[in-house]
């Protein structure tokens, strides 16, 4: 199954990516982070795993143990600065 990944703001700039489609075998946010971390111990790993990095599944905030369903839109972003 596939999932859609979105990256925003400074996180997208640092990763050099703002969206991608990924083959997904099922699992949690933690599993996805582990997968993305394999892209680079100095780049993807620290940024994706940072305490400050937030994750949303289908536009709702998610935790590391949240399941990612098939076809989901998963977003990673830094702390928000609106208002």
């Amino acid at each position: 199954m596939r999932i859609e990944l979105l990256y925003f703001a400074s996180l997208a700039d640092k990763l050099g990516c703002d969206r991608e489609s990924l083959d997904w075998q099922g699992g949690t946010v933690a599993d996805l982070k582990a997968l993305l971390s394999t892209r680079g111990a100095d780049t993807w790993a620290p940024l994706i795993n940072a305490n400050s990095t937030r994750c949303a599944i289908n536009q709702q905030l998610a935790q590391d143990d949240s399941e990612i369903p098939s076809g989901a839109e998963v977003a990673f972003f830094p702390p928000v600065t609106g208002g």
Binding site: F8, A9, D13, Q60, T81, G82, G83
Partner: protein, 150 residues
């Protein structure tokens, strides 16, 4: 409840007049408004400010926060308009207006709305080439609205 995310400029004076004009005469004893504007941090009047956001999630989060305010306080009306895209120093970023029978609820609801959106709504500010960092003070401020009820 009127919650909007828009690129167009916000005129807080016109919006305030509109809120008063559309109110049922005599219903609300109190109207409270808030306008957040782009500050000039370092004499950078010509600098670009851009507010990016997560289309879809932004509206959902703002609506959820507004619904939360409506269930916590007796509000006759609630308006929340947040701008996105490029803007200049002095321009309005966000406008909030609430009306309630009495002032305690109106003040509290308005403050709750701005404190909460600042830590939960997916917007990100960029000044020139730099992304603005989220600040500890905003995070602390929003925690005072937490209750035991979900």
């Amino acid at each position: 409840m009127h919650v909007v995310v828009q690129e167009a400029r916000i005129d807080p004076v016109a919006m305030t007049a509109q809120c008063h004009a559309s109110a049922e005469p005599g219903q609300s004893g109190a109207f409270v408004t808030f306008a957040g504007t782009v500050r000039d941090f370092q004499g950078a009047a010509e600098r670009n400010f851009v507010l990016s956001h997560y289309p879809g999630m932004t509206e959902r989060v703002l609506e959820r926060i507004a619904q939360s305010a409506e269930s916590r306080w007796p509000l006759d009306s609630l308006t929340l308009v947040h701008r996105v895209g490029a803007m200049s120093v002095g321009e309005c970023i966000v406008f909030i207006a609430v009306a309630s029978p009495h002032r305690a609820a109106a003040f509290a609801a308005c403050e709750f709305l701005i404190d909460t959106l600042k830590t939960e709504a997916p917007f990100w500010k960029k000044e020139g080439d730099e992304w603005v960092d989220a600040n500890e003070a905003d995070a602390m401020r929003s925690t005072r609205w937490l209750t035991d009820t979900p």
